[in-house]
């Protein structure tokens, strides 16, 4: 490479760098919040648009299944935009990848809040990930709506006035699963397999409120970064656990199932809905088995797993919400499977639109928080929300179901409870709502 040639290459590189810097400068200046329109009532809100952001695991260990959630929410927003928007404004939803890594979440969320000036963070996914930004969002007074995690920690209105949960929290879920197991498996030996963070620990807390301690023979935990669950499965087998309750993400429910098969151990499985979307789980089982050189039928392996859910089952085709969301799915995201993740993404987007409609025509950030503090109709959820000024928990109950031929089948009625050690698990007596004909709240 002669000197002239090298100079030319350098000039090229310099020109590219300069162009990049100019473009970077433009992008930061154009995103300043106050563009002067009369109806720009808050950062991220202009006369024509509402900008919201999220952190989602689009790559990494939690991506299988969960990476469908944000596109599904976005599909519902597109549907709303096509049907008049929210008081005429269109929703723009920017979701960035944090790979389920708390250290990436902080930088992604700073980018959304500081550079893009989003109005709110919506449905940020994951317990460990979102915990790393919850203080920052609240000290910056950014609404932090409907965190995609059932950690009871989001319900802390005095410390986190801007944060709201959405799905049934893991303590409630653990209590309801626990009360079912106590009734149906009296006297059996019970084991736990849980993710060793707030997700699994909250679930275990709920289980222990209901299941007698004498029945629990072994409690095993895992961390998502270590995929070898052999020692835990072996310990549960040795302890003779006849029923194993899992508070695990889908990949680890699949690993647990495959590892237990390998060890010729087949306890009854009961699992948190976090890990049991039937099609995600079946897909993972088949993929993992294939990596190990075996062929299995995912649906055969998920058969009979006991679980719970706070939304109607996607297999329940007669349900008005399923009909509505299937229609939106077929229009906007036909390439994704219509599974529990897509349903979840649309249901939580529906709750966001409900909250925005209630917050009024030109809402401030505080107005949105006040709107939710005043309570929201339950929408697609099977039980009411707990939202009030003093309670930021989401859905208050679930129904128990089991996976039959790759579909979640509801068993019995919806059960509700609170997140205290003594609050009873009771049958929900109210009615579920039907989807509005317009598909808009």
């Amino acid at each position: 490479m002669n000197r002239k040639h090298r100079l030319r290459l350098f000039a090229l590189a310099a020109a590219v760098t300069a162009a990049a810097l100019v473009a970077a400068g433009c992008s930061s200046s154009s995103s300043s919040p106050s563009s002067g329109a009369a109806t720009a009532s808050a950062p991220g809100i202009t006369a024509t648009q509402i900008l919201i952001g999220s952190h989602q695991p689009l790559t990494g260990p939690a991506a299988p299944g969960y990476s469908e959630i944000a596109p599904a929410s976005n599909a519902y927003f597109q549907y709303v935009n096509a049907h008049g928007g929210i008081y005429g404004r269109k929703i723009k939803y920017t979701y960035l990848d944090d790979a389920y890594d708390p250290s990436k979440t902080t930088s992604v969320v700073h980018q959304l809040v500081l550079q893009d000036s989003v109005y709110a963070i919506f449905n940020g996914l994951g317990t460990p990930t979102h915990l790393s930004v919850v203080s920052y969002l609240n000290s910056s007074k950014v609404p932090d709506l409907f965190v995609a995690s059932g950690c009871a920690c989001w319900n802390n209105p005095s410390a986190y006035p801007y944060t709201f949960g959405y799905q049934t929290d893991y303590i409630r879920e653990g209590k309801i699963l626990g009360s079912y197991i106590k009734q149906h498996y009296a006297g059996k030996k019970i084991g736990y397999f849980y993710q060793n963070d707030e997700f699994g620990q909250d679930g275990v807390k709920g289980l222990n409120y209901e299941i007698p301690h004498s029945q629990v023979v072994s409690q095993q935990s895992y961390v998502p970064t270590n995929v070898n669950v052999g020692p835990q499965v072996a310990a549960l087998k040795t302890a003779g656990a006849q029923v194993v309750v899992l508070f695990a993400i889908p990949a680890f429910v699949a690993l647990f199932k495959l590892t237990s098969l390998k060890l010729s151990y087949s306890p009854t499985l009961a699992a948190s809905n976090v890990g049991t979307d039937p099609s995600t789980l079946a897909g993972l089982l088949e993929a993992f088995a294939k990596q190990g050189g075996a062929t299995v039928s995912g649906n055969a392996l998920t058969q009979g797993i006991i679980t719970d859910y706070y939304l109607p089952s996607v297999g329940n085709t007669g349900n008005s919400w399923i009909t509505l969301f299937k229609k939106i799915h077929d229009t906007y995201i036909p390439k994704l499977p219509f599974d529990g993740n897509v349903l979840y993404g649309m249901a939580v987007a529906y709750a966001f639109v409900q909250a925005m409609m209630k917050a009024g025509k030109n809402p401030t950030r505080a107005a949105l928080v006040n709107a939710i503090n005043g309570g929201l109709p339950q929408g697609p959820a099977v039980a009411p929300f707990a939202y009030s000024a003093t309670n930021h928990s989401g859905v208050t109950g679930v129904y128990i179901g089991s996976i039959q031929n790759g579909v979640l089948v509801q068993q019995g009625s919806v059960l509700v409870t609170d997140d205290t050690p003594t609050g009873a698990v009771t049958t929900f007596t109210g009615a579920e709502q039907t989807a509005p004909a317009s598909g808009m709240p």
Binding site: R6, A13, P102, S103, L114, P128, N196, V223, T225
Partner: protein, 350 residues
């Protein structure tokens, strides 16, 4: 004389950056603070590789030690920020003594392998002992902007001040060290160990010292990272981080501390900028999430093709500045001491 020149340059840089932080948006301040973290870590690595001729693939682990030290000292002993930084650097330096003592006996790929082991193994301590280190969730670190600056003062500007200020101090110290008797001794053992030993230099002790300096820098960078992201979790300190540091040092140019700045700019800005472009051009989130990795790889290849001696080396050549006497043998040496190709390939897969 050199001290005065370095301090003068640092003061000028401080003024320029002070103006920048006030002018830039809060997000740019936040990025500036991030860049400062990498400047410190990569500068330490540049000293180790460029001056003493050793290599480390484990500096991400020393960053983890510094970061966890910061979080634990703040959580249990409630130490103030100004004490946390030096303490974290000191704790990482102690770890550096241990590793350096072992490493001083190893060369080339063996040294790379031994330090790589550290980078792989250390983060799993956090998940093995969740009671102390908080597991995957990690620990939180709180930074409060001094009340004297006023309630409207952007917290990210304060972060930028802390981190950039620290980085400037580190650069002045390292620049002086490089020009001191110790720096000259390092260059001597780097260029010819046997000759240096015959000349009366204690080769083993000097090699360990270089390791300690680089570990202290990494530990300090870890503390800065903890403060910047207000939390510490094992996900931040994977092998990828250690390799990113080495990449930054090589891209920037191993011969000089200024190279650390260029390397940090590439490491921090390329991924964010590419994600912005990808999302603003309407690519789906899943595709946009994977593009930065690809572009990063292309940038690496391009830089190495255009500037085989790193960006700083390329700039010197462009302006026709004769490289200092030390750089020419260094370039030869770093090529010889560079870890085998297999380790570079790991960037693609990890």
């Amino acid at each position: 004389m050199t001290l005065a020149r370095h301090v003068g340059a640092a003061i000028v840089a401080a003024v320029v950056i002070w103006v920048l932080t006030v002018q830039l948006s809060p997000f740019r301040d936040y990025q500036l603070a991030d860049i400062a973290v990498y400047v410190v870590a990569i500068a330490g690595l540049t000293v180790l590789i460029g001056l003493s001729g050793q290599i480390s693939l484990g500096n991400g682990a020393f960053m983890a030690i510094g970061a966890y030290a910061t979080a634990l000292l703040q959580m249990h002993l409630n130490w103030p920020l100004w004490a946390l930084f030096p303490a974290s650097a000191a704790i990482a330096a102690v770890a550096g003594v241990a590793v350096g003592a072992a490493a001083a006996r190893l060369h080339g790929p063996y040294l790379a392998g031994a330090t790589l082991l550290l980078a792989v193994a250390l983060p799993s301590f956090a998940t093995q002992f969740p009671g102390v280190f908080g597991g995957d969730q990690g620990l939180s670190v709180t930074v409060t902007t001094p009340a004297a600056l006023g309630a409207a003062f952007p917290p990210t500007r304060w972060l930028a001040w802390i981190n950039v200020g620290t980085a400037l101090i580190v650069l002045v110290l390292l620049a002086n060290l490089a020009h001191s008797r110790i720096g000259r001794s390092w260059r001597a053992i780097r260029d010819d160990e046997t000759a240096a030993a015959l000349a009366g230099l204690n080769v083993a002790r000097l090699r360990i010292l270089a390791f300690v300096v680089s570990a202290a820098c990494a530990g300090l960078a870890g503390a800065m990272l903890a403060v910047w992201s207000s939390q510490v979790s094992p996900g931040a300190f994977t092998v990828t981080l250690s390799i990113a540091l080495l990449t930054g040092a090589v891209i920037g140019g191993l011969g000089s501390l200024a190279g650390a700045l260029w390397g940090s700019l590439v490491i921090v800005l390329v991924p964010t900028y590419v994600t912005d472009v990808a999302t603003s051009h309407g690519l789906s989130g899943t595709v946009a999430a994977n593009i930065p990795v690809a572009v990063y790889g292309v940038v690496l290849i391009a830089v190495m093709l255009i500037f085989p001696e790193g960006i700083q080396g390329g700039l010197r050549r462009f302006w026709g500045i004769t490289p200092p006497a030390a750089t020419t043998p260094l370039a030869r040496l770093t090529l010889r001491r560079r870890p085998p190709a297999s380790e570079h390939q790991e960037e693609g897969t990890s």
